[in-house]
Amino acid sequence: MNQRIIEKLKTHFADSIISVNEFREELTIVVKKNDIVKVCQFLRDDEELKFDSLRDVCGVDHYRPEERYEVVYNLYSLKNKFRIRLKVRVEENDIHVPSVTCVWESADWAEREAYDMFGILFDNHPDLRRIYMPEGFEYHPLRKEFPLMGIPGSLPLPRKN
């Protein structure tokens, strides 16, 4: 199955694919940021592959000067009972990624979580708000520079009497 997917993607999106990695039969494909929607659309609609379910979208902070952030998409095909992983690399000074909500509705909340925790902005997302932290919070807690105990005073407590 892995070979089949690689073959298909290479014929259709030869310049979109940055790297392909196979480790213990798990397939990970790094895709160019601006082509992610195209690739996802193809993987979902292709009659043979049919990756019809998006299991998760999550962010990663590598804390390095180049390509600091990463967005990881976990896909599952109900027809083939098969999983793959797509990755997109994001620069710190251009922290925009096209949203895949137009391909899978289920990306909505997962992308909101990645936005809340890492501050990654998903373009064309229908409702990009924080999902866990309170509305007025100004930081993104899973970024590496955020201190474990938070920033004092950033989350208000109710008054005591």
């Binding site: 955020f146 938070g150 208000p156 407590l157 005591k160 009497n161």
Partner: protein, 167 residues
């Protein structure tokens, strides 16, 4: 004239009110996470809190006078806990059940309040993760003793219930 002396009990009104209050503490179950499971056991037939007159768990704060905070209180939730506390009629008592509620517990992180006494007055702290239901019963009995002594809620020294293990 008939003799009623063995039928009547004479007492002070204060004592009568204290007796009534301490034997009908109605808890507000502020069950926010896993400790709430032990709080349910405390209400159930095995540990049977109705022996102490507290079996009537009220989900309306306006009908309860003891708040059992059982679980991890995040900053986002703290406003809700405080609001519910404010809605309870006086005199009201608070038990901080479990490590999370008393001190943040194992969640030493940006999102969890490191002890609910930062925003509401606590009367009894019950240790454990989660505390055994019998320790929570002991916490309840300490509140009853405080009422019997005529203390005001949230003022005199705090009571700490240590963890015990059943062998």
């Amino acid at each position: 004239m008939a003799d009623f002396s063995d039928l009547l009990v004479f007492t002070k009104l204060d004592e009568l009110i204290k007796f009534a209050r301490k034997n009908s503490l109605w808890p507000m179950p502020m069950g926010i996470s896993c400790c709430a499971i032990e709080m349910m056991a405390f209400a159930g037939p095995r540990f049977d809190v109705s022996r102490f007159g507290s079996e009537a768990f009220r989900f309306s704060p306006r009908q309860s006078d003891l708040m059992i905070v059982a679980g991890t209180v995040t900053y986002k939730m703290s406003h809700v806990v405080r609001k519910i506390y404010d809605q309870m009629p006086d005199p009201k008592w608070v038990i901080a059940m479990g490590a999370c509620t008393s001190s943040g517990g194992m969640y030493r992180s940006y999102s969890v309040v490191q002890g609910i006494d930062q925003f509401i007055p606590v009367d009894v702290y019950v240790a454990g993760c989660p505390p055994r239901p019998d320790n929570l019963l002991k916490g309840l009995m300490e509140i009853q003793k405080k009422i019997a002594r005529g203390e005001k809620p949230g003022q005199k020294e705090k009571i700490y219930i240590e963890e015990t293990f059943q062998v």
